[in-house]
Symmetry: C2
Subunit: 254 residues, 2 copies
């Protein structure tokens, strides 16, 4: 019967979207259940589900078994300042209270940072091998970090070091090691310059699971390559951050 009009599911999506935008459905509150929408519009439940899925893909709704569909809460993202280095120096001389720049930055914004670290030896993925200018077969030491704020995972961060550079140093310990001037400085390889590259894309399924990313939320991929004064690459750090939790900030002198 239906014809050249817009699809039924879009009309239903429009109706619900409008009610969200006008505030008739408030953030955190449940919207009309599927069955009721289906009955009201005289369509099948499947059609309603397509409509609600579209809204979820736009980031407007969350849903779950037994929970119903709810209007998504919007929180202001945390600012990640990428031109502030080694904040640990400002936290006193006790190495036990030293934190890395990220943790200090989060704490400064009144939140509770936490990170878990593991270390492994591996063959680098191609884009890391390129940036470190490694030959095929060269191995790297990888420090995997899961950074959380207030118990919610905020970042996946993997640092790659050429294996010969860090063999036998504290960098191979799966702890939160910090040192004035930076870890690489402490082992005799100070970083003089960074190249930061920033991408955005939709998360993979594995990332949505590990970071508990709600639908329709992109991730920002941040790749920082650190160089010695002579231009040799020392480190590549690849960080994945859900875009609803972080913004990036750079302070630049003209």
């Amino acid at each position: 019967m239906p014809n050249d009009e817009r699809p039924l599911y879009e009309q239903i999506a429009d109706e619900v979207r409008r009610k969200i935008e006008t505030g008739e459905f408030k953030p955190g509150a449940p919207v009309t259940p599927e069955m009721e929408l289906a009955a009201r519009h005289g369509v099948s439940r499947q059609t309603v589900r397509v409509a609600l899925k579209q809204l979820a893909d736009e980031g407007l709704l969350t849903s779950g078994k037994g929970r119903g569909h709810r209007v998504r809460d919007t929180h202001t993202p945390l600012q990640w300042r990428l031109t502030q280095f080694e904040a640990s120096e400002h936290r006193g001389d006790n190495p036990e209270t030293a934190v890395d720049a990220w943790a200090a930055d989060v704490a400064a914004q009144g939140r509770e940072p936490h990170q878990e670290i593991s270390v492994s030896l591996a063959l680098p993925p191609p884009r890391v091998a390129d940036r470190l200018r490694l030959e095929p077969g060269d191995t790297v030491v990888v420090r995997h970090r899961v950074r959380s704020v207030d118990g919610i995972p905020y970042q996946l961060s993997d640092s790659y070091f050429p294996e010969p550079l860090v063999r036998g140093t504290p960098l191979m310990e799966p702890r939160d090691v910090t040192a004035p001037g930076g870890l690489l400085h402490a082992i005799g390889h100070p970083q003089a310059e960074f190249l930061d590259e920033i991408f955005a894309r939709m998360p993979s399924r594995a990332e949505t699971d590990r970071l508990r990313i709600p639908g329709a939320t992109p991730v920002i991929e941040h790749i920082r390559t650190g160089y010695a004064a002579d231009g040799a690459p020392l480190r590549v750090m690849v960080t994945i951050v859900p875009a609803d939790r972080h913004s990036l900030a750079y302070q630049v002198r003209a």
Copy 2:
């Protein structure tokens, strides 16, 4: 009958995803049609569709009536170098060939830049007013830019200036005005420092249309605030770039 395993549609999505990642399905080439996947796995077509929708949401597939599902082409995004200023100086003294930093950067990567500019007087949106520290009622001069590469729209860029600052200057002309040291420098307000903020989100419907953004592609929102040496904000530039066309790059000294 099936139970505590992962859902069927995820298993199917995993299989197709793996074949894309290993290169068995090449970019631009069609993947197995829905009906065939359904028959092969002994599931209904609807279940296959959910699987393929998930891959489309990850940005791996495109599809359309009669066209089938195809592996999405991945073009390497253009790198936008945000710590290179005023490249025009390197292009000779002739003002006719002078270009802004962005255009020079694009040309250096072997592509053909183009931009269209319009100028208007307006009340600033709240986030611009905040960053320029304006009072309610203060007006701004807005320079709207649509930047294209090889005929494809690449950026929407709006620069906001406090109106008293630029009244009667070349900045109010809807041309591509360039000057050594920068536009604001030329009118007596050199920028000493920038604060760049970076967000990612899904595009609005209007942005999808204007920038011709394919499905499942986020946009990067770049907000640059320029300050005078005394700390007064001089300019806010808000730029929207589709994430499949651009990466951002910063060169940072430690």
